[in-house]
């Protein structure tokens, strides 16, 4: 549920409105006074911080109706703002909401400071274990599973979308199963990309950074060991992703996913494949409506991966942890996650609903395949857990930027790798 395009803007807006946001949340603690309905002094108001895209509005209304005395005050802000405001509020010791969304990108930073959150295990979290995907559960708990930071929300199983018409022109298979077979490994994928580039002039993918990230996310350890040791230099997974990505410079279009160029590139058929989680499908539809019916979707080479997905946590500043726990466990129970998904929300993290017709028979006229949901369900169960560490994102940014310089032709592979490693060492020692 990450919105890349909005992240930069969100960060900017965050700086300017942080004051307002904090002022805004300061009054929620004492806002029972202005509840017009039910003037019951036992009314509990739960403040909830989310960024757009969770799709919980209808469910929250329903919960309020079925649970008199509970009021939910949903406050939405941009992705980066929510996390920065939460960190500020936790550090300040006041102003945090009763429930806050936490994306996996920030998760390890919060996991390192468990004192700031109610341990959901103390509230009965053990019962949740069997409902959610294993990797999601492992993400949200500490090593010995005595601490649970939040209730899992969605997952972002990665699949590969490809332009069937360009594949056909290049003499590649177009049937999803045959594509998956032909491109079972990344090397085969890159070979196919070279063929495609020679035959059609189109590129295989948008840029090296995205290829690198897709490969990196399929295994672990990546940059850090479980005990926090920095191993990016020796990590087999990192080297494997780096070597493959740097060998594919010729078939990369060199277009960053977070820019307006990406949309123009998709619309113009500049590149033939895109790796994406379900929530990103909408981006293709929005940016290139004219390519409807030209796309198909299949498994990624060498398995799946995860991109995005969150948790609903209860900061220890909250005075109503039980009420908050009841709400979030209800919201993220399998039945409700399925309903969220049916209303065009993100993909459920609860495997027991994957066999439901709503998922198995999900289809979209934009894409040729008529069993999209089944493919996602399959990909979701392939995701394996890997420890990341709180500095995973900054280090990943350094490697992705280094790949960018190779693509721009300003650095050789060695210069780029060494530059990223040196800067990473500096940053993690601060």
């Amino acid at each position: 549920m990450r919105e890349l395009k909005r992240m930069k803007m969100g960060a900017l807006v965050g700086v300017t409105v942080m004051g307002m946001a904090l002022a805004g949340c300061a009054d929620t603690g004492s806002s029972n006074g202005n509840n017009e309905s039910g003037n019951n002094s036992e009314d509990v108001e739960l403040t909830m911080w989310l960024w757009p895209g969770f799709g919980l509005e209808n469910l929250l209304k329903e919960y309020e109706e079925n649970n008199p005395g509970i009021k939910v005050n949903l406050q939405e802000a941009e992705y980066a703002d929510i996390h920065q405001n939460l960190i500020t509020a936790l550090a300040a010791g006041s102003g945090a909401p009763d429930i806050s969304g936490i994306d996996e990108g920030y998760l390890d930073r919060f996991m390192e400071n468990p004192d700031h959150f109610h341990n959901l295990m103390d509230l009965g979290g053990e019962e949740l274990k069997d409902q959610y995907l294993d990797f999601k559960w492992q993400q949200g708990t500490n090593a010995d599973e005595s601490f649970l930071i939040g209730v899992p929300t969605d997952v972002g199983p990665m699949v590969m979308a490809y332009r069937a018409d360009i594949f056909e022109e290049a003499g590649l298979p177009t049937d999803p199963d045959e594509v998956a077979e032909k491109m079972g490994t990344w090397e085969e994928y890159i070979e196919a990309g070279k063929q495609l580039q020679e035959e059609t002039g189109s590129f295989m993918f948008n840029n090296l950074s995205d290829l690198y990230t897709a490969i990196l996310e399929q295994g672990s350890p990546q940059y850090f060991e479980d005990d926090g040791t920095f191993i990016a230099g020796e990590s087999e997974r990192n080297q494997y992703a780096w070597d493959l990505a740097t060998s594919a410079v010729d078939i990369s279009a060199g277009i960053d996913r977070s820019t307006t160029e990406w949309g123009a590139g998709v619309a113009a058929g500049e590149f033939a494949t895109v790796f994406l989680p379900p929530w990103m499908l909408q981006n293709i539809k929005n940016d290139a409506p004219d390519t409807s019916g030209l796309w198909n979707i299949t498994n990624m080479p060498e398995g799946s991966g995860n991109f995005g997905g969150s948790f609903l946590s209860i900061p220890s500043e909250s005075d109503h942890p039980e009420e908050a726990y009841d709400l979030v466990t209800w919201l993220m129970a399998p039945e409700q996650q399925l309903r969220i998904f049916e209303e065009n929300g993100p993909f459920p993290s609860t495997p027991e609903v994957y066999d439901d017709p709503a998922i198995q028979e999900l289809q979209d006229d934009f894409f040729l395949r008529d069993d999209l949901g089944a493919l996602y369900a399959e990909a979701a169960e392939e995701i394996v857990y890997g420890y990341k560490g709180s500095l995973h994102e900054p280090v990943g940014t350094l490697f992705r930027d280094a790949l960018q310089t190779i693509e721009d032709g300003t650095n050789s592979k060695e210069e780029a790798w060494n530059g990223a490693m040196e800067e990473a060492e500096r940053q993690i020692n601060r």
Binding site: I87, R109, H116, S258, D401, T410, R430
Partner: protein
């Protein structure tokens, strides 16, 4: 008894007079206090707290560890990226400020001509970019400076030249960011110059016209010398703005070689994406010292110009 009352009365009067003075003084303090209270909260306290933080290692959620001057030492001996951001900032500042002030001066001179019709419309038009949201400007310019599908490369291709990789080269990134700053601030400086121009007496121009000076000679020998204090003001303004450049590179992207990373953006990333608040605080103090140095240079040069 009457005597006694009179004494009491006198005492009371004395007390009253004394109180009145005190009240006046307190009222005075009260009137000026909002500034000092706000400045204390938002100016002095952060300043002191930042200095305190810069001697620590702190990720804001965890514990704070005192490490002395390690952050500052690292900045000097083990952080080439910081010095790169200083270079980037100065380069982008020069590339935006110098053309910007020259263009603004020329537009102001043009707008001040007697023959021009519809002056208000032009003045309004030139100032509009300045009230545009910086985020909107950033997004539109980023799209225009796109490498593959940007309108500027499209025009360059039409002329027959090769596309420029705006986001992938030092010069490209600096030019693109400088263009945003220039577009947004040219109007502001124009209006200031225009106000300065209008304060120059028409008699001088008339006299020079009679002496046979043409428009260009008037610009060089009358307008610019008489605008000197205004020019110094705009230079100082642009210096302050240029050293704080943040939003434009944030939206445009800093590039793989960090060629678009400015000092304040680096500070922001250190604090809010890497959560090294101690190190970010040290960077903030470094920026403070750098601005002091540049201000002193500025002061020195402008005093020379004044006395020239």
């Amino acid at each position: 008894m009457t005597n006694n009352i009179a004494v009491k009365q006198e005492k009371r009067n004395k007390v009253k007079v004394y109180n009145q003075k005190k009240t006046d003084r307190n009222t005075g303090w009260l009137f000026i206090s909002p500034f000092f209270i706000l400045f204390g909260i938002f100016g002095v306290f952060p300043l002191i707290f930042t200095a305190f933080l810069s001697l620590h290692r702190w990720d804001i959620l965890g514990t704070r560890e005192f490490i002395g001057f390690e952050n500052y030492i690292n900045l000097f001996v083990n952080d080439p990226l910081f010095w790169k951001t200083l270079g980037n900032t100065i380069s982008i500042w020069l590339m935006s400020t110098i053309p910007q002030l020259i263009i603004a001066l020329m537009i102001a001179f043009f707008l001040n001509q007697a023959f021009l019709k519809g002056k208000t419309l032009f003045r309004l038009g030139i100032f509009v970019p300045n009230v545009t949201s910086v985020v909107a400007v950033g997004i539109v310019f980023s799209a225009m400076f796109g490498t593959q599908f940007g309108v500027i490369n499209y025009v360059i291709n039409l002329v027959g030249l090769d596309s420029i990789n705006w986001k992938g080269s030092y010069l490209g990134t600096h030019v693109a960011i400088a263009a945003m700053v220039l577009w947004r601030w040219v109007g502001y400086n124009t209006i200031i110059y225009l106000a300065g121009l209008q304060s120059i007496s028409k008699d001088i121009y008339e006299a020079s016209t009679i002496d046979g000076a043409n428009k260009f000679q008037q610009l060089i020998y009358i307008t610019i010398p008489m605008l000197r204090p205004i020019i110094i003001f705009t230079v100082i303004q642009s210096t302050i703005g240029g050293l704080q450049l943040f939003a434009e590179p944030l939206i445009f992207g800093e590039g793989g070689n960090y060629q678009g990373l400015t000092m304040t953006l680096y500070l922001y990333q250190e604090a809010f994406t890497r959560f090294s608040f101690g190190y970010a605080a040290a960077i903030a103090w470094m920026i403070f010292f750098i601005i002091i140095i540049i201000s002193l240079v500025n002061l020195f040069i402008s005093q020379r110009i004044k006395s020239a």
